[in-house]
């Protein structure tokens, strides 16, 4: 009997579901844009052409993608262990604050020591914050979804307390005007704790790149962490165990794998990724901790992870797409003089998530259907 293997288009389509979801979401988004009275085609054209039409745009996109790679990996890594870590926001707060604290406290250390120390502090802070729900889940079975959310709010309060404790002294100008800080913030971190901007590297290589562009070395840290996540998950015994627990905890336990230990470890590693957002926000950009209510970077990580199908490579690509939307959205906001609020992008992201999960299910069914006929 001869069998000719036909190319199965459904498999290809299944891999493409995120793309289809994005296109559908942009279509729905155009309805929302219509509500603002603007022309969707103009808005999208402005959005994309400015975001990726030139080096400055790309720099800004990667700068915005960097924290999303971290938070996307946070969600994806925990998900591989069957956990919903939606506390990336809080873990990021703690890690970022800790990085800043190290940066403005140990100001006399050389860069060679201070930078790794700050990076470690960021990871440790995030890991610590994620370990709490990890232990609760492993030891008592309390669902991590509610606990991680509660931990977000607790982190927001805790950093608020800490920022007042370490509040930067008022500048001469502020003293003269008799005003307080608008947004509470700490002192700046030491020069030696700062990550170089890519502009400096490009300049060294004699490549033309705008000096004001904020994309920095943290982007490479993010890529490195994505590779690390892939390596841990698929090439090591730890990853084998973590994924085994995620797929089937009962079978994992039977195979001599400690479910509790792996849940805690997975949460720790996942939280460390979130904490590393601090490398971009503090070490590469603001150089200090500023107390803001929820940046939504943590939550957007959920969308990034989903769109990236919980795979590190997918996460990087999805984060870049969201970087484009975020930067382009901000530009659209400026070009339309605020008539298209930048929250449009948040709405788009939510719609993308819904379409991704729906189209995933649809394609699963389609593939089943085809197998049935075959």
């Amino acid at each position: 009997m001869k069998s000719i293997k036909k190319f199965d288009y459904t498999i290809l389509l299944e891999k493409m579901t995120p793309l289809i979801a994005v296109i559908l979401a942009l279509l729905v988004g155009s309805v929302v844009i219509r509500l603002t009275g603007e022309d969707p085609i103009f808005v999208y054209k402005t959005l994309f052409s400015n975001a990726i039409g030139n080096r400055d745009g790309w720099g800004n996109v990667l700068f915005r993608a960097t924290p999303l790679i971290f938070t996307g990996l946070t969600v994806a890594f925990a998900f591989r262990c069957g956990l919903f870590n939606i506390g990336g926001e809080g873990q990021m707060y703690i890690g970022t604050f800790l990085a800043a604290w190290v940066g403005f406290t140990f100001i006399h250390l050389p860069a060679l020591i201070l930078i790794p120390l700050c990076v470690l502090a960021a990871a440790a802070g995030g890991a610590l914050w994620a370990t709490v729900p990890g232990i609760l889940k492993a030891k008592t079975g309390v669902h991590e979804v509610i606990v991680t959310i509660m931990m977000n709010w607790i982190a927001a309060s805790l950093t608020f307390y800490l920022v007042l404790l370490y509040k930067a002294s008022a500048t001469e100008a502020m003293k003269a005007a008799g005003v307080q800080q608008m947004i509470p913030h700490t002192d700046e971190i030491a020069e030696a704790a700062r990550l170089p901007r890519l502009y400096n590297i490009f300049k060294f290589l004699n490549i033309d790149f705008p000096a004001h562009n904020q994309v920095n070395v943290s982007f490479f840290i993010a890529i490195g962490v994505a590779i690390l996540a892939y390596y841990i998950l698929w090439k090591t015994k730890l990853g084998y165990e973590i994924r085994a627990v995620g797929y089937n905890a009962i079978a994992a336990e039977y195979g001599g794998i400690s479910v509790a230990r792996n849940i805690i470890l997975a949460m720790m590693i996942s939280g460390a990724f979130a904490g590393l957002v601090g490398t971009n926000e503090v070490m590469g950009f603001k150089y200090r901790w500023r107390q803001e209510l929820f940046t939504n970077l943590g939550f957007n990580g959920i969308a990034v992870a989903l769109l990236g199908k919980n795979h590190p490579l997918g996460v990087v690509l999805a984060a870049i797409l969201f970087g484009i939307l975020n930067y382009g959205g901000a530009l659209v906001n400026i070009y339309t003089e605020g008539r298209v609020p930048r929250e449009l992008i948040m709405v788009l992201q939510a719609i993308i998530v819904i379409f991704v999960i729906i189209s995933d299910e649809l394609f699963k069914r389609l593939i089943r259907q085809r197998r049935k006929i075959a």
Binding site: N152, L158, I302, V347, I354, I357
Partner: protein, 314 residues
Amino acid sequence: MLGDVFNAQFIASSIRVAIPLALAGLGGVFTEKSGVVNIGLEGMILTGAFTAVAVTNFAKNPWVGVLAAILVGIFLGLIHAITCITFKANQIVSGVAINLFASGITIFFCWLLFGETQIMVKNNLPIWGLSLPNIGEASTLVRNLIVIFAHHSPLVYLTIIIFLLSHIVIYKTPFGLRLRSVGEYPQAADTMGVNIVKMRYIAVLTSGALAGLSGSFLSLEQAHFFVKEMSGGRGFIALAAMIFGKWTPFGTAGAALLFGFGEALSIRLQGVSAVPVQFINMIPYLLAIFVLISAVGRAIPPAASGVPYEKEIV
């Protein structure tokens, strides 16, 4: 000092603070009894809160605002139902998406319609019940009783009626029996001719309506304004209340009151105690975590909660 904190006014404010949690928690009871997890309650509360204020100000009538909040809650419930029941997608992810959507869409429209991120309520709901006697006109006891039981927003009384009705519906009617069976063992209910999809849709839309109502109370009654992210994790605290209340309406109401007490306490303690305000603000969230830990092994969720119903074995 304690006397200043724990008085009739304090109990009344605990009740008011508990209402949004209780309503959303009751929404959680309905969906989880039917087998659908809804962590989108948070976003439904937020959207309800915004809609209530926006529509109230346009219609110059708070009742229209309340109704609109309920309708918007139902609409978000419909999205969750379509995603989770019809398409059998992951229920937690769908809930997260609804929360993201709510965060974005509320501010989006807030900017678009009002040009700012905070809006005040222009038309307030009335106070129903007995009017407060002036001090000296009645005994302190009578006055306190009125403060606690008979001097509230109509939505407070409505909430109590909704809870009584929900208890009856869930435990005394055919609908309730079917609802409970669908969330415990949908295959069994299916073989008995119970329409699982229909039951779950009704439950999820009900939870949306309750969460929308919860949001309207939050903005119209508790805060008298709308502001970005004002739901403040209440959707999740409501779920904790539901778990602590063992998935029953009265249990959930009791747990919500406990949380209301905690939150009212944290409001009351601000400025009174030496503890930094940031730590006082943590109280509701810490309370939720402790409540969840204490419910472990005691509260058993509906067996099929969170599991999409698959008829054909594949």
